[in-house]
Symmetry: C2
Subunit: 689 residues, 2 copies
Amino acid sequence: MRLTLALASAAAAVIALVAPASAEEGMWTFDAVPAEAIKAAYGWAPDQQWLDRTRAAAVRLTGGCSASFVSPDGLILTNHHCVVGCLQNLSSADSDLVAGGFNAADRAREMKCPGQQAEVVTAISDVTGDIGKAIGALTGAALVKARDARIAAIEAEGCTDRVKTRCQVVTLFGGGQYKLYQYRKYSDVRIAWAPEFQAAFFGGDPDNFNFPRYAMDAAFLRAYEDGKPAATPAHLAWNPRAPKDGEITFVVGNPGSTQRLLTETQRAFQRTERLPLTLLLLSEYRGRLIAKMEESPEKMREGGDDLFGYENSFKALSGQFSALNDPAFTAKMAADEADLRARTKGNAEIGDPWAEIDTAMAGRRDTYLDSVFLERGPASYSTLAGYAQTLVRAAAERGKPNGERLPGFTDSALPLTEKRLTDAVPTYGWLEELGVGFWASKAREYLGTDNADIAALLGKESPEALAERLVTGTKLADPAYRKQLWDGGAAAIAASDDPMIRFFAKLDPRARELKAAYDRDYDAPVTAAQARLAKARFAAYGDKLYPDATFTLRLSYGQVKGWTERGKAVPTTTVMGGTYDRATGQLPYKLADGFVTAKSRIDKKGVYDFVTTNDIIGGNSGSPVIARDGSVIGTAFDGNIHSLGGNFGYDGALNRTVAVSTAAIQQALDVIWPAPALSAELNGGKRRR
Amino acid sequence: MRLTLALASAAAAVIALVAPASAEEGMWTFDAVPAEAIKAAYGWAPDQQWLDRTRAAAVRLTGGCSASFVSPDGLILTNHHCVVGCLQNLSSADSDLVAGGFNAADRAREMKCPGQQAEVVTAISDVTGDIGKAIGALTGAALVKARDARIAAIEAEGCTDRVKTRCQVVTLFGGGQYKLYQYRKYSDVRIAWAPEFQAAFFGGDPDNFNFPRYAMDAAFLRAYEDGKPAATPAHLAWNPRAPKDGEITFVVGNPGSTQRLLTETQRAFQRTERLPLTLLLLSEYRGRLIAKMEESPEKMREGGDDLFGYENSFKALSGQFSALNDPAFTAKMAADEADLRARTKGNAEIGDPWAEIDTAMAGRRDTYLDSVFLERGPASYSTLAGYAQTLVRAAAERGKPNGERLPGFTDSALPLTEKRLTDAVPTYGWLEELGVGFWASKAREYLGTDNADIAALLGKESPEALAERLVTGTKLADPAYRKQLWDGGAAAIAASDDPMIRFFAKLDPRARELKAAYDRDYDAPVTAAQARLAKARFAAYGDKLYPDATFTLRLSYGQVKGWTERGKAVPTTTVMGGTYDRATGQLPYKLADGFVTAKSRIDKKGVYDFVTTNDIIGGNSGSPVIARDGSVIGTAFDGNIHSLGGNFGYDGALNRTVAVSTAAIQQALDVIWPAPALSAELNGGKRRR
């Protein structure tokens, strides 16, 4: 499972609060952990010290994953699929770190992951009053402008050290709360150890979001500072024991986005417009990519990470689509809405936020296709196009006062934007052309040949010809050229004859216009309506509520537990030896070399993967699974198929987290891809490489 | 627009009757043309003689199209896209009849289209009582068995001459009526003339289902008998004049399938299950095919017809999906159901057919995925696999009494089945492998790796390995081998070690089991319920009703008329010269060579394509557009984007038929791809080549 941030953002601004219906439901902020409920369910709950210690060890990876420190020397446990992009970026035709895995002989050989940054929350403070004052009685575009300006200022003031800290204001409860999160950041993150792809992703797409499962989806990174391993005294104790049925587990990480309190109208939009369109685009692009990859082993390697991402998104969104078409699943949500409507009827302070959202939604439907195809243009499918869009926008935005800039270009956001832009990563011409050509062909198909924007952008060029001209002509694959344009600012962009830059210079005014219309006509009224919905909900159901996920730190509690699938009990754990039974000799069920050569040394009865009832979602990938004593016993990497409806609601009977156990990772370090120094480090041994 | 018979059949057995809500709505059977309504709207209606003459000239093409005789020598007017498969089958790397078009220098050079058969209705008789007696009080599987046996017998008795005639019993009004259609058939059909693909399909997929339009989607076939052009004294007069705004037009052809009276539950199944799944599969396969075709010009040519078909189906079904997600469109259907429920409440004779359909539908949902992937298996995407399935089934079926055989293998159906199986057509290994591999990969994805059927069919093979083994190993590309297995019957099939045959021998029991379950648990109860719904509808709304489309001859009346799109009037016609304005020099807006070289000779103000209000659907492709005087003034080839909801309902304000005018075709024959002999033949001239 991977966080689909890009896709999730299309549904933006839908943040509301939820009253848990099931004992283990909830993605709780660290300043509002429901200790009483946990105690009621398990006879014990974590105290403040436990929470503080855990929070200090919890890591957010800016690529869209979660992780945790597991040694005093900056060692980070996460999922293999959270580092596979890094491995691919560091690979070449001669050295395939995805297929072969990575095992640094010593720390000096740990390799820097381009674009990667690790972040640890150091403080959370309430800035609701501050922002509320800035908004005052404003509405529409003025509301959004005032709010965003105040957020930019708070972030800038909160983190003056932009090398080691990062500030983010997070909107919770649909505008009911604003919190400033301060992070300690590590922008030098290196890969220390990763298994072979075929072990990490054994079973491939067919097994993804399924269980039983046999996947070593784990890897180790290390945070560096000033060229040395970072000192991380706050870390989780490594506990390579098997999980026990029924034991309490905590998953601590950064769930990306949930939409658990959409109104019926908003859910209908998801079901009838956004999800079908997104799925259809993903399907066709997946098909094109698969066929192109089959042209050569080199393309197979180069396209692998993208394919995984698209297939993962496809499956996740398919699950959402199915959930929203399941009458039993949606009936509860409809009943919840009806109940809240009944309770607030005639309450003048609340008014009719549903009707306001209906109005905004109707307008959104009219411009939705334009937004999908024109706000990001080919940047939705092409890395080089993404660079061009960032550069064109940065040139304009950096000249403005901090408070007036687009998100991503405020003072607090610029360092990461620049790092992502200028870090060297390989790009592949065929893949870039595939992406740009696909975008152009679908934009023309959906908006129509006679659409004014399409006519302006494509002229008499075919999608394929446009893609070839932009990709073969651009120099943006060169990080030095990107840095030069970044440093050169508006003048450099205006002077550039790079075709990709020129294309985005032409598209950008329209993209900005669409974003402005979205802010004004949808975001502003919906934010205002949702804030009142939040108020209504607090009044109706009390304050034991958690906000929708926002890719910020949350705690979920649950237990090690299987489930019943069509009358059949699904076991809680798998064992290492099961891999051999499932292997077919052909992809994606081909054994990793390590499993072949270490067969006699592997403890086949040792636990491999396991499931828990924790409530997680994309973005939680890599989260530590933590036992009562605060030690780490696994890393969450997936949900079962039922967890996909979790975007809209949690079903405790069926929704499960899938994790790889520390016991399995320990076996991997001991006998499959031996890493004695790493093992010693994890287990508190003194040995140093 | 093309008839998507294969896809439509997945929704099978949903045939009901409809009361027209809009003046021009309706696909009328020739024995129940609503003369009064036509007269009321247009002050004139066709008499019996007009209808008889027209019916005798109307042609059904078994590939899924409509057509008409337009000369006494068997000349047939249809669409280019109805013969593109034939052109592709007759092409080679050296001679691309799709790209270059076809223009027989004389009749001796007209070329036989493999698998093509032309049919003309000669008689329609009512056999409702006969079949009703056979069914008696039976239910479930027994009902289906008795009904099908009686149908097979009636067909066999009705057409003892299987060389020149064909009989089909058609179920109308959901079992409220059964009619025997007798056809004169022509199984030697040759291509006489076809324009260049780039003229026929100018604008390609982006312009498909759109208007204004600039497409020469017309072609001429000729029916032969005993090696000579068939004598067809009954034919339409060729009338190469421009259509006039507001003039009455008749479209006579074979609409394939409509579903205008599904219950709410059945529509929900379409909206939430069948359409999304079908669209997603089409999308990904389309993507794979596009990427593979780009590998070489040869593959571009070889895959062209398939791609067109998939893109066409995709667009058509997308339109259906959108229609079913349009609250305004569906509200009327919901209201109709509510009205009929209210009118029949407490009527013991009608009972509650809706509840019976609900029950059947719930069961159908449970087995739907199995049906999609296992009933036809890889035959859904591969010609060779289709041969294997036909051969395996024929071997078993032909040994049974006529009344017990599966559809397609009864005495009346066998000749066409054999012709389709044994006619020589080229197949392409890469395309076959693509199809089989795609089927296997999606079947595994949707049914799951651990599904018993998947385990049995794939074993330890990957989808790609299975596809390669079956396609490289099979000899079914050779028509002589197919004929040998057909003639050899069950013994030959049992003895064959052809891997594709063996694969289907393994799959067939499961496929039959699924079909039997469908017949018993869905078809039988739904047929019974729908017959009572039909009765209720007749009682409530009188007998001025037309049955859902069944790929049998229908008449639609309407007029030449544009429509208003978002406040803007869409004109009724386009002119030839518009092609040059729309051309970009790049596909799909590249001018055909003929348009380049004949530019100075083309009458640029001459009408090209036009729209009418006729109510048509896939299967009507190639239908003549007939003027009041019975002459042909165009051939229908498409509907506008609004016509796609026509599967479920007709909206007279927006739904339009798109046709190419005989005036444009005459220009093509005169100056673009000159065919003087053909022109003389059409225009009653005596000249012979």
